[in-house]
């Protein structure tokens, strides 16, 4: 349902972790999420984007127009090979909101920018 998708987006946008757990006064940092469906991207060591690919009634090609699920994807770009802890946080959030219906679709390295790119695809039951 769209409400569940919105809840997932809200949860991803508020992901945060301690910048340096070893520090005496650790600072909580959030994962900057790109806005406006990929038209802007924040300047950050790691940032994420989330996108709904298409509406539920387009999922079946047999003209039944029956709402089954919402599909979309989450992308993480990071200058750090490990993803700086965001990989674990994103997968935990997907598991919580998508009832396990997600998969790591690709993990690539962009030579031009030096960024590592994770792409997860998810479904949310309607």
């Amino acid at each position: 349902m769209l409400e569940n998708y919105n809840a997932l987006v809200a949860a991803l946008k508020t992901l945060q972790q301690e910048e340096d757990p070893a520090a005496e006064d650790p600072v909580m940092v959030t994962l900057p999420m790109a806005e406006d469906e990929w038209y802007t991207r924040p300047e950050a060591v790691s940032y994420g984007t989330v996108r709904l690919d298409f509406e539920a009634d387009a999922l079946r090609g047999d003209d039944r127009k029956h709402a089954i699920a919402w599909e979309g994807s989450v992308d993480l770009f990071s200058l750090v090979r490990s993803g700086a802890g965001w990989v674990e946080l994103i997968t935990e959030t997907l598991t919580e909101h998508c009832d396990g219906a997600w998969t790591l679709n690709s993990h690539t390295y962009e030579r031009e920018t030096g960024l590592f790119h994770w792409e997860w695809a998810f479904q949310i039951e309607g």
């Binding site: 469906e37 990929w38 991207r41 031009e112 920018t113 695809a121």
Partner: protein
């Protein structure tokens, strides 16, 4: 990119195929080809829907759409159904741009599978347009139906041991 289609409710036929190991793979491959064809056609159609804009380097903090030249390369590239792979009694294949080769944009030669992947999955500087995944999701039901129809169509070719 791979996907799995599971055909259920054909216990009797599977039992029949179990007794005919000699040519069961051949029949399964023929049926799979019917379904893969549906997917390949869907991908070809989806390529036409890719949004483009005149080429420009992505400005700071912005992403860009693929250029018309990049779209034309992907659209005209050799793509479709990959060579079938056997794994025991199962047969599987892929639909995509694995052997699409290279294309020329300006004075640069670029691998077409990478361009297709950049459009489909997006990059830090190119907007994502998941045309392959969208085509697969939309035509999954039709592909399953085509495979089931293919199995029934070629059922008579099974040589029962």
């Amino acid at each position: 990119m791979a996907f799995t289609i599971k055909v259920e409710g054909l216990t009797e036929l599977i039992s029949k195929m179990d007794k005919a190991p000699k040519n069961a793979e051949k029949v399964a491959a023929k049926a799979l080809y019917e379904g893969a064809g549906v997917m390949a056609d869907a991908v070809s159609q989806a390529v036409q829907g890719i949004a483009t804009e005149p080429f420009k380097y992505a400005s700071r903090g912005k992403t860009r759409k693929p250029s018309p030249e990049e779209k034309a390369l992907v659209a005209s590239a050799k793509h479709g159904v990959a060579k079938f792979r056997k794994n025991g009694m199962s047969v599987n294949t892929s639909v995509g741009f694995q052997n699409a080769g290279y294309g020329q944009i300006g004075n640069k030669t670029k691998p077409i599978p990478l361009i297709a992947n950049a459009i489909n999955s997006g990059t830090s500087f190119m907007q994502k347009q998941p045309f392959i995944r969208k085509a697969f999701s939309q035509k999954k039901g039709a592909a399953e139906a085509a495979i089931e129809a293919g199995i029934l169509k070629y059922e008579d070719e099974l040589e029962i041991g």
